[in-house]
């Protein structure tokens, strides 16, 4: 992974000093709340329901064992001994004290970490596929460009105060796992007819209050021009994006208002001035950064391991875990392991300090000391030898990190919701926990198969409910908490936004509602159709009919 040179380190150190002074001035009354707000937000600090919340950047989801241990120690020293992995691959602390945040950032800087631009109206952490660099279906590893873009966007002088936040995702695989279509800019890397690295550029996607999937603004962009092109897009947005209404301020609204053709015309006009200028990435710079993402020093291994095969055959629990939590790797004899942060009945994405240490140790022992976080809020050991899988499983299981539910109904994506977030209409974590308990039967879960269930506590959609096969959204009705249910949302290349099935439900009804949705699926599915396929084939009607029929007779 990328390692800081003295320039990177100096920037982060200077940031700590700057923020320390800003916080001092705020506490001394020299800065108003309104003036301090964008400053703290651009250092990841929200003021929340019970306490501030600090969002620490995990650039494109890559983290070292040393960094994870540090996060564990920070969570212990300054918080309540746990952290929460978010849907943007970052780590959030829910209970730090504002006065401590400069010190936390100083500690992070010692392990090449920061909280820069994890919030606020600026370019946010760039996200990607958690299997970047190892996925068998990967065409281009986008991480070197992602790192170059991270540096370019860090304290960008022109884009420090945009109309609204700006999120970029990069992906270089056949099967999109980074939801590029749900980002302000999505960069899809591919090899063009000349065999050169090129980029398909999507613009104007986003979830939130007005869910919109992105539109292709450019089919073919040479990688050298990615910075100048993004700069042109964001410049047009910076000038013309709405600032009068926060709910209409995302670039998606501007793109819709102008129409993609006119928006594109303005971008191209702007780009004509920037193209081939100093922003053009040189081969030298790409090579400098790319050398940090070279393949690991893999051993030459046989594709099969007899002891592993025997363990799978004789141990059903291990076999179940292998089926759900072990993913393919491009190098023979290696696999990726997803450590589930979704044990049934616990807040999805939460991890204790002790678990962070266990995971860091696992990474050191079995996966070159590196980890990835996924937007599904799990952790990944990307480079495990097949012969080590059994040992990894035993240790992960002991630490509660081996729930074999990856990709299943209980692998729920869930925002912090009403327990923590002051914007929430309703709680989301207790709903996730109740659903997990309702389906706390692995055989039944396997029987249901691949299913994504996403929960957000309000229309800001931090839990990506729009793209869940089943989406649950907290709504407010006369001051009490209700839940609206959608089906048919999907992430990936064929992304779609879910359709509402009808009037909302109370918290107690929710596990039953999900149960009934599943009943329809089990009744109607053909062959090995997944839940989402059945919804796409049949539409919302049969689901709606069954859910509300039960409701009336109940």
């Amino acid at each position: 992974m990328y390692k800081y040179d003295p320039i990177d380190q100096q920037i982060v150190n200077e940031r700590v000093a700057q923020y320390r002074d800003q916080t001092r001035r705020y506490l001394a009354g020299e800065l108003t709340d309104e003036e301090y707000r964008p400053l703290r937000l651009q250092n990841g600090l929200y003021i929340q329901r019970h306490a501030p919340m600090l969002r620490i950047a995990v650039p494109y989801g890559l983290i070292s064992s040393k960094q994870l241990r540090k996060l564990g120690d920070i969570a212990k020293k300054y918080d309540r001994g746990y952290g929460h992995f978010s849907t943007r691959q970052n780590l959030q602390l829910n209970w730090p004290k504002l006065e401590d945040t400069p010190e936390i950032l100083a500690e992070l800087a010692t392990v090449e970490m920061h909280a820069i631009q994890t919030s606020g109206n600026c370019i946010r952490n760039i996200t990607t596929d958690q299997f970047a660099g190892i996925a068998p279906d990967e065409i281009i590893d986008p991480r070197a460009i992602a790192e170059i873009m991270r540096q370019w966007s860090t304290f960008h002088p022109e884009f420090a105060l945009l109309p609204r936040k700006f999120k970029i995702a990069v992906s270089g695989t056949e099967k999109d796992r980074a939801i590029v279509q749900a980002h302000d800019i999505g960069l899809e890397f591919y090899k063009d007819v000349q065999g050169q690295m090129a980029i398909k550029v999507w613009v104007g996607g986003g979830l939130g209050r007005t869910p919109i999937l992105g539109t292709v603004i450019r089919e073919h962009l040479e990688w050298q021009h990615v910075l100048s092109y993004c700069e042109a897009v964001i410049r047009v947005y910076n000038i013309h994006g709405r600032r009068d209404n926060a709910y209409k301020a995302r670039i998606k609204i501007l793109v819709k208002a102008l129409g993609i053709e006119e928006f594109k015309r303005q971008v191209e006009e702007e780009w004509a001035h920037l193209k081939d200028g100093p922003l053009t990435i040189t081969q030298n710079e790409l090579d400098r950064v790319a050398k940090y993402f070279e393949p690991m020093p893999y051993k030459t291994l046989p594709a099969h391991d007899a002891a592993f095969d025997a363990a799978v055959a004789s141990n059903p629990a291990f076999a179940a875990w292998v089926k759900r939590c072990v993913q393919p790797h491009r190098v023979p004899g290696y696999r990726a392991v997803t450590l589930s942060l979704k044990p049934h009945g616990k807040a999805p994405g939460d991890i204790t300090s002790e678990q962070m240490h266990v995971v860091a140790d696992l990474a050191d022992a079995y996966s070159f000391g590196e980890l990835r976080s996924s937007h599904e809020q799990n952790l990944i050991l990307a480079d495990v030898q097949v012969s080590d899988l059994f040992a990894v499983w035993e240790k992960a299981r002991e630490a509660g990190l081996a729930t074999p539910n990856i990709g299943l109904l209980t692998d729920i994506i869930c925002c912090p919701g009403g327990d923590f977030c002051s914007l929430a209409n309703a709680k989301s974590i207790p709903i996730a926990e109740a659903i997990q308990m309702q389906f706390d039967n692995l055989d039944y879960l396997y029987e249901i198969g691949d299913l994504e269930l996403n929960i957000s506590g309000c229309m800001n959609a931090c839990g990506h409910h729009h793209v869940g096969h089943i989406g649950i959204l907290g709504v407010d009705k006369d001051g009490s908490e209700w839940y609206q249910v959608t089906v048919g949302g999907k992430q990936g290349n064929d992304a779609s936004i879910g359709a509402v099935i009808g009037p909302s439900f109370s918290a107690e009804e929710m596990p039953g509602v999900v149960q009934r949705l599943i009943e329809v699926y089990v009744r109607e599915r053909q062959d090995d159709e997944r839940f989402i396929d059945t919804v796409r084939r049949l539409g919302v009607a049969p689901f709606k009919a069954h859910v509300y029929a039960e409701k009336e007779t109940a």
Binding site: L31, E35, E158, N245, T282, N284
Partner: protein, 205 residues
């Protein structure tokens, strides 16, 4: 004590006396407060009108001295201001909701203006940075480019890198304190108006 920070050609910052008189139109009536869903709208959209005809007509302009005039006033009253321009006593204020093109349309050579100021009503309005950048790189403006309005120290580093070389710090804040923020970072990653990206600036290999 002056509120004006100026960068010398060598980048050295100092607090200097402000020799320009800023021309401010009289306030508009109550009815000009815009609301949306009961909330006051804080930002004007790009292209929105800055002052009403009445405000422009009622603006008093002193007969002598260096004057800094809003673009809309220049547009409406350029006949009476022409001699000031010729004497090098005219600077123009561009508001963040106005466009650099509108300014260019008025002055074929922007460098006949000794001073252009960009007025930012609220510090969180980042259009000022793009405007600064455009004026320097696209429109070739070489003279003094000043940030005025809600100008606070925590944005100065960005203003500087977006091409501004003078900063009128908001009246209730210390310009002296603000000086320090101009040097928050010693080796920024990306290019700015006056420099190139770090990988072109230094050898990082």
């Amino acid at each position: 004590m002056s509120q004006l920070i100026q960068l010398a050609a060598d980048g050295q910052a100092s607090i200097v006396a402000d020799t320009w008189t800023r021309i401010v139109p009289p306030a508009a009536g109550e009815e000009s407060v815009r609301k949306q869903a009961g909330k006051v709208v804080l930002f004007k959209l790009t292209g929105e009108q800055t002052y009403t005809a009445e405000q422009i007509a009622n603006t008093e302009i002193p007969a002598t001295g260096k004057i800094l005039v809003p673009l809309t006033i220049w547009q409406a009253r350029k006949a009476e201001l022409q001699s000031r321009l010729a004497a090098g006593e005219l600077g123009i204020i561009l508001a963040t909701n106005e466009t650099a093109e509108a300014l260019q349309a008025e002055f074929t050579d922007l460098n006949t203006l000794p001073l252009i100021a960009v007025f930012v009503e609220r510090f969180a309005d980042g259009r000022i940075f793009t405007l600064g950048n455009w004026l320097r790189t696209r429109f070739g403006f070489k003279n003094e480019l000043r940030a005025i309005g809600d100008v606070l120290r925590d944005q100065l580093f960005f203003h500087k890198r977006a091409g501004f070389n003078s900063f009128l710090i908001r009246a209730d804040r210390s310009a002296e304190d603000a000086l320090a923020s101009l040097n928050d970072f010693s080796q920024p990653y990306q290019g700015g108006v006056a420099d190139v990206p770090v990988w072109r600036r230094v050898n990082r290999a």
